[in-house]
């Protein structure tokens, strides 16, 4: 089941990546460990400090649980665990980026939020061909270079709605 799903997913991810393309626009940048990522600012609803979520039994470890966001129950995903960061600590700098993807609200835990950057087309390089060892590369749409910094641009909508994330029932994710 798992094995047969994975290639299909990667393909789907690739298609999404292509259609979304590394487009110019404003990106919200955040850090996961030593890596810096950028996501489309239009998918971001708000940024909050981390609070202890209510654990959900038998969920994958990167789903920390659910929190109350002004009366709405929102699941919290720790991107550091999802993207295999060496450590995932919860301290006063840990923040939650509340995303609005596919009409759903999802919170993503990151180490810190840096800034909002305007990236034009020539600042975005195509994503390098990485070995297929890590499935997550399929959601990388390109590499943005701003001075010395290297931003990994991510299709956050595709990542959050992917089946392996298990955030949504299959029908909605499709």
């Amino acid at each position: 089941m798992e094995a047969s799903n994975v290639p299909a997913l990667r393909q789907q991810g690739a298609v999404t990546a292509k259609s979304h393309g590394p487009k110019s626009g404003e990106y919200l940048t955040f850090r996961l460990g030593s890596e810096e990522y950028g996501i489309d600012i239009l998918k971001v609803q708000e940024i909050r400090s981390y609070e202890q979520p209510t654990r959900i039994a038998n969920a994958p470890d990167f789903i920390k649980g659910v929190v109350n966001l002004r009366g709405v129950i929102v699941p919290i995903v720790d991107l550091r665990l999802k993207l295999n960061c060496p450590s995932a600590e919860y301290n006063s700098f840990t923040v939650v980026i509340v995303l609005n993807v596919k009409n759903r609200v999802v919170g993503a835990v990151v180490d810190s939020v840096s800034d909002v950057l305007e990236l034009n087309r020539d600042a975005i390089k195509p994503a390098p061909e990485l070995s297929a060892a890590s499935v997550d590369t399929s959601f990388i749409t390109g590499i943005g270079s701003v001075g010395e910094r290297m931003l990994i641009l991510m299709d956050i909508e595709g990542l959050m709605s992917s089946a392996e994330m298990g955030l949504m029932d299959a029908a909605i994710a499709a």
């Binding site: 979520p53 209510t54 654990r55 959900i56 039994a57 038998n58 969920a59 649980g65 659910v66 929190v67 109350n68 009366g71 709405v72 129950i73 929102v74 699941p75 759903r104 609200v105 999802v106 298990g166 955030l167 949504m168 029932d169």
Partner: protein, 712 residues
Amino acid sequence: MGDMTTEGASISAGIDLSQFYQVFFEEAGENLDNMEQLLLNVNVEAADDEELNAIFRCAHSIKGGAATFGFGDVAELTHQMETLLDKLRRHELQPNAAMVDVLLQSGDALRAQLGRHQGSGGDVIDTTDLLVNIKRFVEGGGAPAATPAPQAAAAPAAAKPAPAPAAAAASATKPGTRLLEMQVGPLTDLSLADNLVELFKEITDLGTIEPLDAGQSSDGMRRFKVLTSSTDNDLLDLFTFHVAREQVKLTPLGPGFGFYDGAPGAPPAEAPSADPGYGFFDEAPGMPAGAAAPAAEAAPVAADAAIVPTRPATPAKAESKPAAMDQTTLRVSIEKVDQLINLVGELVITQAMLAQNSRDVDPALYQQLTSGLADLERNTRDLQESVMSIRMIPMATVFNRFPRMLRDLAAKLGKKVELVTQGEATELDKSLVEKITDPLTHLVRNSCDHGIEMPADRLARGKPEQGTITLVASHQGGSIVIEVRDDGRGLNREKLIKKAREKGIDAPDTMTDAECWSLIFAPGFSTADVVTDVSGRGVGMDVVKKNITSLGGTVEIDSAEGYGMKVSVRLPLTLAIMDGMSVGVGDECYILPLSSVVESFQVQSNTIKTVAGSGRVVEVRDEYMPVIELERVFDVPRFDFEHVSSIMVVVEAEGGRVALLVDELLGQQQVVVKNLEANYRKVNDVSGATIMGDGRVALILDVGSLVRRSRH
């Protein structure tokens, strides 16, 4: 009626009528429902006058509205229905079952037409057959209609043109007060005319009425002197409820004429238009005295007329209002109510939060604060109850559709079925009412098709020829229970088990009756020997069960072969808010629906016994119950390893009980049920989530799923 003319006038004023469409559709729908109810209740052998009048009024109201809003097809059909109904209520025709059928079908056609106008699509509804049928009934009764008298033959001829010019005159002006002579007749029962006098007493703005003939009548005619500010059309419409339009003749009376002429706003065209009425009047053979009357009465009337100007003309406007003014209900869109309920839900959470945070406040120091908080708590609860009650509607809205359905169904199947309903006033959340209608319809169909036997079979079994289906709704605790009972053949245990085995369902002979009956909920299961177009295809009971379960309800079946069967549907009163019991496991808190909690008690570890090494049971008053450790189900992390859970909460669902092992009982509170699937997905053994007083999320346990878990 006054309303109608006002709206009619607004057409010419170019006001957009579409804003009133919705109101018309809703009212027409209500009138149709009402008419159907009444038609079903009509006893064709001895129809009650009041019932016939009420049916007529329904058709009449729909016709009026449809004509105003320009729905010609609806108006045309209702007009024909009205004609037939009018003849019926005047006893010119004898009602029969065929007429009731045609009228019911017409009602369906009207509903379809209205639906089409309302934008739900569909083809143009062909009503030609219905119209022809109705006309045939109307004409079929034409012969008796002619019998009443020679006057009748003459009167309609004379009367027909009369209202027309009068109406023309009326619509041409917004009249002030005027004096009319009204002739009513020919009447078979003279006291009918007295109803008109009563009418004037009831509607004070209408004006005054005085009999001109002191209750005496020579030829079945009654004459009245009327002082009114209403138009002829309005008056005739009002009178229609008591006497036929054709039987009423309105003629301006002497001084009234003068008044008219004097009125500066009155167009000159009016006097001539009234004149022909006078002419007709003279020629009408049935009323020789009529012509003399105005002259004879002229003098005293003049005195009356002198008083007329002192009565201001303003009542003319006020007259059309009362219907709208004493309205005691308000139509509000469901979204507005839902928004209100959501806000109240948030308020409940905030209130709980405040209550929790102020627990440690010293009441002696902050007396006002604590009393304020206590008030807030009480008011919040009251507010919540009142808001929730807005959405509550009586079960009658569901039950009312069944008499018609059963009537058609029974006729199709050749059975005789009587429907008995109880507890129609039981209230249920509107969203639940909508969702329960289909499953209930299915159950009632099933009872009629499979349950009730053919009349001959029933007689052979010593039962009354007519079968009875009983619908009962009642409140039981926090739930509503709806029962569908029939006195038909009931379920056959052997047949069920045989069928189940044919379908490959595991069905041991040792099954309890309850388990056996619940076999019919299996997908594709049908015990009907013959598949009819009504039921028996085996799609249904599983869907019924699924729908009810998805509403948080349960279905139970009880049956005795040969005596009938009972299906009980148990539903929560509302889906949005429930009473919950919070239990602590480790550092976590879970909510149990209070309605499913039976009891809780402390256990000694030695009373928990194991079965086959792993399954654990506890003995409660000579009953062994499976034990479920919430800690294991939810994989709760533990830091205090010495701690032993020692509290059992017995919960009941789907006919089974389990004991949940928890650390502590935290309390009871109302919780606002939130959907986990809105942003996440379905979680096993969890039915939803809620927000606790401290703002944290707590999961609500799905007791049904926990009980099922213990069975496997």
